[in-house]
């Protein structure tokens, strides 16, 4: 509007020029609002710490030490970021088509379990690791995709609310995996902690380039880029985003809404199942209760902070990996419970969602410019 109706006063003209010198509002908003929300959450958490008589300065410097300061802590953060990238993608992709799916944790557990047990007969048959590992990964992804697909399918054919159904499916998935791990697939040698039979040393997924970070991080990076291209630059991605924006309009245009929904759920489940494969292959070496470590739930927060953008999932996942890595240090040095990071995550989540209200309403941005519409 400012360009269409030039102002008379110098002040208004200066303000208009200032606005024009800033980049387009729709481009910078998704960056500055989440960053401001992070800062506000850190501030609120500092107040929380002060009330408890703890020092916020100590807290954040410990987070820096434990998550970013040395090569060791960076590797630790990246290690934990690997599953978070994948579970973040597992929430972000269905979110683009308008689904709020909480099922990543269940798909991760079932995918990890499947990967662990498909390896056993092939290992016994003496197949080489180059054959077994891809089969494990594919099996984990397929089971994850199937499991998340159930929620999408129920949504499409019966209109069942996918948020609740996917959470219920997570609990059911964990029950199924626990039953199979403690029953038919239990390794008799695992006395205290029921587990499946351990994978042989040649089946352990190694570290990348002399670091202590396993290949799951590379897989996450590649998938993030691929899925960004798919969602932003292909007709499938366009159709999915259109369905998310307006379901009725998409149906009116004759888009195959059901197939799009199912595909997005399957992609999400495959990402989570792949995270389970890496947790089994690189961290635990077998399937047991440690698979349900909450990565699927933290991934939801990661995706929200990344505003459901697959590329932005990567830095956000690394940030949360660093917070996770620093958790132990904070616990020991500040004598605070391990739930401290949960509280911080809760604050971040809440402030971030509150910050949604500022989109399109920031006083210093020009929302009416028509520069890029021509």
């Amino acid at each position: 509007m400012s360009s269409a109706f030039p102002s008379d006063t110098t002040r208004a003209r200066l303000a208009a020029r200032l606005r024009q010198s800033l980049p387009d509002a729709r481009l910078i908003e998704p960056a500055i609002i989440p960053l401001a929300a992070l800062a506000a959450a850190a501030l609120l958490f500092s107040v929380f710490l002060l009330i408890l008589g703890k020092s916020p300065v100590t807290f954040f410097s410990l987070v820096w030490t434990g998550g970013f300061s040395s090569w060791f802590s960076i590797q630790n953060a990246l290690q934990r970021a690997a599953p978070l990238i994948l579970t973040g993608l597992a929430f972000a992709i269905p979110a683009r088509i308008g689904l709020t799916l909480l099922g990543a944790e269940g798909a991760l557990v079932l995918g990890g379990f499947t990967a662990a047990v498909t390896a056993l007969p092939m290992q016994a048959a003496g197949l080489p690791a180059q054959v077994i590992l891809p089969v494990m990964a594919l099996a984990g992804m397929a089971v994850g995709a199937f499991w998340m697909g159930i929620a999408g399918w129920l949504k499409h054919v019966r209109g069942v609310n996918e948020t609740i159904s996917s959470l219920l499916l997570t609990y059911i998935a964990i029950a199924i995996a626990s039953f199979l791990i403690e029953g038919p697939f239990r390794d008799p040698g695992s006395a205290n902690k029921p587990s499946t039979q351990p994978l042989g040393p040649d089946l352990r997924i190694g570290e990348m380039f002399g670091s202590s970070v396993h290949w799951g991080l590379a897989a996450g990076l590649v998938l993030a880029v691929v899925l960004w291209v798919v969602m932003a630059r292909t007709s499938f991605g366009f159709a999915a985003r259109m369905t998310g924006g307006n379901l009725r309009a998409a149906q009116g245009q004759g888009l195959p809404v059901g197939r799009l929904l199912l595909t997005c759920c399957a992609i999400a489940g495959a990402c989570a199942g792949l995270a389970g494969f890496f947790e089994v292959g690189a961290i635990h070496g077998q399937a047991n209760a440690s698979l349900a470590a909450g990565y699927g739930f933290t991934g939801i927060l990661v995706a929200f902070l990344a505003r459901q953008n697959p590329l932005a999932v990567v830095p956000v996942a690394i940030l949360f990996g660093a917070l996770d890595a620093a958790g132990g240090l904070v616990q020991r040095r500040m004598e605070m419970p391990d739930a401290t990071m949960l509280v911080l995550q809760g604050f971040i989540f809440l402030i971030l969602l509150v910050s949604d209200t500022f989109y399109g309403r920031l006083p210093f941005l020009d929302y009416h410019s028509s520069r890029d519409r021509t």
Binding site: T100, L102, L154, R158, G159, V160, N161, T163, I164, S165, L167, L168, L169, Y171, I172, A175, I176, S178, F179, E182, G183, F297, I300, L301, F304, M336, P337, D338, A339, T340, L342, V343, L344, Q345, G346, F347, F349, L350, L352, L353, V354, D356, T357, Y359, G360
Partner: protein
């Protein structure tokens, strides 16, 4: 074998009453909130925080009923915050609920650490089965007074929604925000109060978990009861009295696993423990797209649109 079946039967009745109580409170709270046209998925957080606060207050003060009140107060704080944030434009009420779930859980685990070990005074149960000679019947009918409070509340809520001015206002806000606005009703205030009251009830439901059954505070105390209650309310079609029946049904499903374990059936107990989730999912599949449910749903509710 028949005595085993009988034991399972009694254990299920007693278990249904015990397990259903937190379901009942959360469902009544969610029912009231949804009647005003807003959905609160965060009641799971209220439930866990309520359980922790009730246990801590009961331990420190020696009075479990004070603990129940404190749990309700904690629930009010979370509920009111939810209600206040959701009136802001462009925020996503479903996601806000998820955030409150995670914040409530985080706060409960954070402050609850020192209370995992010590033993707090519990709520006394009423031995209404004392007429029977059968110890299993006596055992099954050790009913907590909160259960009766919940039943009474369900009747009160049912009556008040139909017959009082406040009830009419809540229903109008939930069915048509536009007409409520035209009548000069402050929609945001009504929804804020309904969400806060719903938060109170969910907090009290949490107090039952830590002060009666299972009756201790630990981090695995609640596992999705708060979210299942949302499905339960849809199943009960926003009617407080049907919420009681639905809660008893969910309670019976939840009691299946422990009852079978009591007679030594442990094979596949993970599945029996997952019975409430499977039941909820089955009910959601069966009741989705039901015409009567669609007619009775508050019109402003986003989850059924």
């Amino acid at each position: 074998m028949s005595t085993d079946l009988l034991i399972v039967f009694y254990a299920m009745i007693g278990g249904a009453i015990r397990v259903s109580t937190p379901f009942l409170f959360v469902a009544l709270g969610e029912c009231l909130t949804e009647k005003s046209g807003r959905i609160n998925l965060g009641l799971e957080g209220n439930l866990i925080l309520g359980a922790m606060v009730a246990y801590a207050v009961s331990y420190n003060s020696g009075s479990p009923w004070l603990g129940v009140l404190a749990a309700g107060a904690a629930g009010v704080v979370l509920g009111a915050a939810h209600g206040w944030i959701c009136k802001l434009p462009k925020v996503n009420d479903i996601a806000i609920g998820l955030a409150f779930m995670s914040l409530g859980t985080g706060l409960a685990f954070f402050f609850g650490k020192p209370y995992i070990q010590p033993s707090a005074p519990r709520l006394e149960s009423l031995p209404i089965g004392s007429w029977s000679q059968n110890p299993q019947v006596q055992q099954a009918l050790q009913v907590n007074p909160l259960f009766f409070v919940g039943i009474a509340l369900a009747f009160a809520l049912w009556w008040a929604l139909r017959n009082t001015r406040a009830g009419l206002t809540v229903r109008m806000v939930g069915d048509s925000a536009a007409s409520a606005r035209a009548m000069g009703v402050n929609i945001n205030l009504v929804r804020l109060l309904a969400t806060a009251a719903g938060g109170f009830l969910a907090g009290v439901g949490g107090a039952f978990l830590s002060l009666s059954y299972p009756g201790s505070w630990n981090e695995g105390l609640s596992s999705g009861q708060g979210l299942m209650a949302v499905a339960l309310v849809i199943f009960a079609r926003w009617n407080p009295l049907r919420c009681v029946l639905a809660a008893l049904l969910f309670g019976a499903a939840g009691a299946l696993g422990p009852s079978l374990q009591a007679v030594g059936v442990t094979y596949g107990y993970h599945f029996f423990n997952a019975a409430p989730y499977i039941l909820t999912l089955g009910i959601m599949i069966a009741s989705a797209r039901s015409k009567s449910a669609a007619q009775e749903a508050p019109r402003e509710l986003s989850i059924v649109k």
